[in-house]
């Protein structure tokens, strides 16, 4: 199956990840345009990056499953090689093909890179009004285990059990990442979200790992909150939370809820950090009804690409692109349909490129 193929390849081509930080040459990144509106918004992002003169060379791959030598559908070898080589990827929306024999690409990539943390910053966009102003929350979610470990059995007919797995290693890893992220991005508070009053051992272990990590970062404030309290308070006043770290299921739900607070999945970036690489993606759907009509909104993919730039330490370029994007939305002259405007995707993109040209020296 795809995961096994990927594992074999990766062990053959391991490379020091740190080398990406030292060279000032042009870096290669894999881009997976995806389906539906994927190709249009990927093209928009590439255009914006060219306008900002970002030192990145794009390697575009297509991940439509092909029939492998064993008869099963899998990701094409070229895609696997590309992602392995470059270690950094940007992914557009993918349509999951229905039917057995298709291994989920997301799952394969997650296992391949050990993508252990999913980061979703949710920020209110000036110019797009929702019920909640001044939202600035980052949800960091453990991505590999927890409730979604997929271990289920039917014990007797009509009784099913599903196992939630929490390990010390994974919890420690994601806690460390959370505190590191908070420090690097000059944020001030980490909140661990749990339900240790009910799931005493599993969430208790997760909490212990977070507490241990908090001691290593004394200048970052740390608090623990029950899941119900966080949900209750988040919908009343989201400004009281800064960075949230949690296990898989709670993270899945809370990150989608926070995205809803700022305007939906069409405006939220998302990054997956792994041991041997990182993958940044837009989490909205493929929107087949507007595909090819130049009506799509590239904001989500663009902001994910900005996250990618920060991960690669290209902060100056990241700042210019991000502020141009926010300024265009705030100006509200060229807004796409989902933001309540009537502009085309290309007009929106051009507006951003103009602002970048004006900002660059």
């Amino acid at each position: 199956m795809a995961a096994r193929i990927l594992k074999n390849i990766s062990s053959a081509s391991k490379r020091a990840v740190g080398s990406r930080l030292y060279s000032s040459e042009v870096k290669k990144c894999t881009i997976i345009p995806g389906d539906g509106i994927g190709p249009e918004i990927s093209a928009a992002v590439q255009k914006i990056f060219a306008a900002a003169k970002v030192p990145i060379e794009w390697e575009s791959v297509d991940v439509t499953p092909v029939r492998g030598p064993d008869g099963k559908f899998g990701i094409p070898q070229s895609a696997i090689d590309s992602v392995n080589r470059n270690k950094i990827g940007l992914k557009g929306p993918l349509m999951t093909p229905v039917g057995k024999g298709h291994r989920s690409l997301n799952l394969a990539l997650r296992k391949e890179f050990n993508l252990y943390a999913n980061v979703r910053p949710c920020r209110s966009l000036e110019g797009y009004k929702t019920l909640y102003d001044h939202v600035d929350v980052v949800t960091i979610r453990e991505n590999t285990e927890g409730e979604y470990s997929g271990i289920e059995h039917e014990i007797v007919d009509g009784v099913v059990q599903s196992i939630k797995l929490i390990t010390e290693d994974a919890s420690r890893r994601v806690a460390e990442f959370a505190f590191q992220y908070t420090k690097e991005n000059k944020r001030h508070k980490v909140t661990a979200v749990h339900k240790a009053n009910i799931m005493r051992m599993s969430d208790g272990l997760f909490l212990r790992c977070c507490r241990d990590m908090a001691e290593k970062y004394p200048d970052v404030k740390f608090e623990e909150k029950y899941l119900d309290t966080v949900c209750l308070n988040m919908v009343q006043d989201p400004t009281q939370y800064d960075v949230l770290v949690m296990p898989n299921l709670y993270g899945d739900i809370l990150s989608d809820m926070c995205a809803g607070l700022v305007g939906g999945l069409g405006l939220t970036p998302s990054g997956n950090i792994g041991l041997n690489g990182a993958l940044f993606e837009s989490v909205h759907g493929t929107a087949p009804d507007i595909a090819g009509k130049d009506l799509a909104n590239p904001t989500a993919l663009l902001l994910s690409a900005v996250m990618m730039l920060r991960y690669m330490n290209l902060n100056k370029h990241a700042d210019i692109i991000e502020s141009s994007c926010f300024a265009t939305i705030k100006e509200a002259k060229f807004l796409t349909g989902d933001l309540g405007g009537k502009a085309k995707c290309s007009e929106f993109t051009n507006a951003i490129c103009e602002k970048i040209a004006a900002a660059s020296p």
């Binding site: 099913v160 599903s162 797995l165 010390e168 009910i198 799931m199 899941l227 809803g260």
Partner: protein
């Protein structure tokens, strides 16, 4: 991988049979008792009162106060204590009286292990469904106006099975149990409830694409029950999409039907959107036992002794209890008093953005009740 699991499976079958015989996680296969009328002594009902911790004792005493003012024919059997003893006494009393009102009970770790009385009472008494009705009050601040949502949530199994073990050092497993029988009972209750109260739509919330067997079975069982109720619109939705929709457009929903943990999350979200945890109450139902409490089951530690906690949540629980006991006139009287206090007199505690104290709210409610009584 499957070969590694096989010995564990047989062990689990053994554990499962142990569980069904003598512990708190009974898979219900008892013979349904004939529903007998609720106990009535000299025209007065006796109900169990479990004060609990935090603001529980204060709030439940306010219920007693207001009941006295309204002259509701209800007496209270108060059960206090901690740990295993509390659970035992509470269960005996509630089995006898069949109706109870409670605050949040304290979880302890003693020589018997980890005791979570709230969960244990629910499972042992087989209170398989938890219903919360979130209806916004006029002139009380809420993020969304005119909300009217009912959340029906599985109350005994799912993630709250309290079955955890550390198989290897640093690796913990927690079991989530879903049974077809409990899900069917839950679904039937939900659809009957919807029909009785004129609700038009039920949305089932699940995550069956990740949890194919457990949530998959949950969804399929409910779909099968839905076929027998063609007059009620039925849809299903993933939990993450549901939470997102709740914060963007909660009016889409009418009745939400969910497993235990998702119900907890959605309940708290809707509670926050409708005005906060100080206002709403929840009803735990079994085959013939009912326990009433505040909807979000908060302990309210920070409000103890400060006279600023909102008594409306527990008072609403009391009202629900009166309705269940058939005392609809008294229930109507207290509900009107609460409504008048919140919407007309606008006596609001700090959690609603007001400046009044708990005693102010109670005085206003008592005043309204006494005025009505003088008119009659």
């Amino acid at each position: 991988m499957s070969s590694r699991l096989l010995p564990r499976l047989t062990h689990l079958r053994q554990v499962h049979s142990e569980l069904t015989t003598n512990s708190f996680h009974k898979i219900p296969h008892h013979i349904k008792p004939e529903t007998s009328p609720l106990p009535l002594y000299g025209g007065r009902h006796l109900v169990t009162l479990l004060p609990g911790i935090g603001i529980g004792p204060e709030m439940t005493s306010h219920v007693k106060e207001i009941f006295a003012t309204a002259q509701a024919p209800v007496d209270f059997e108060i059960i206090e204590g901690t740990g295993e003893e509390l659970v035992r006494n509470a269960i005996t009393s509630v089995r006898r009286n069949r109706v109870a009102i409670k605050g949040n009970l304290k979880s302890v770790i003693d020589e018997d292990g980890f005791i979570a009385p709230n969960v244990m009472i629910r499972t042992k008494l087989d209170l398989f469904v938890y219903v919360t009705h979130y209806k916004t009050y006029k002139n009380v601040y809420s993020k969304w106006p005119d909300l009217d949502l009912v959340i029906v949530r599985q109350n005994t199994e799912g993630e709250y099975a309290l079955l955890e073990h550390e198989s290897v050092n640093g690796v913990v497993e927690s079991l989530k149990i879903v049974t077809r029988e409990n899900t069917e009972r839950l679904a039937k209750f939900a659809f009957e409830h919807a029909r009785k109260h004129g609700r038009r739509k039920i949305t089932v919330v699940h995550k069956s694409k990740q949890l194919e067997l457990s949530d998959g079975m949950f969804l399929q069982t409910i779909k099968n029950v839905a076929h027998h109720y063609p007059d009620i619109q039925f849809e299903d939705m993933y939990i993450d999409r549901c939470c997102q929709k709740l914060v963007r457009n909660p009016h889409h929903f009418d009745v939400l039907l969910m497993p235990n943990l998702y119900g907890n999350i959605a309940s708290n979200i809707v509670c926050g959107l409708s005005g906060g945890s100080g206002l709403f109450s929840g009803m735990n139902y079994g085959e013939d036992i009912a326990i009433f409490e505040s909807a979000t089951r908060q302990t309210g530690e920070s409000f103890v002794g400060k006279n600023i906690a909102n008594p409306v949540a527990m008072l609403n629980a009391g009202v629900n209890m009166l309705r269940h006991l058939g005392k609809s006139e008294h229930a109507r009287l207290i509900t009107d008093a609460i409504c008048h206090t919140l919407t007309t007199s606008r006596v609001h505690t700090p959690d609603l953005g007001g400046v009044h104290s708990t005693t102010d709210v109670l005085s206003e409610i008592k005043r309204y009740i006494e005025d009505v009584k003088h008119l009659n």
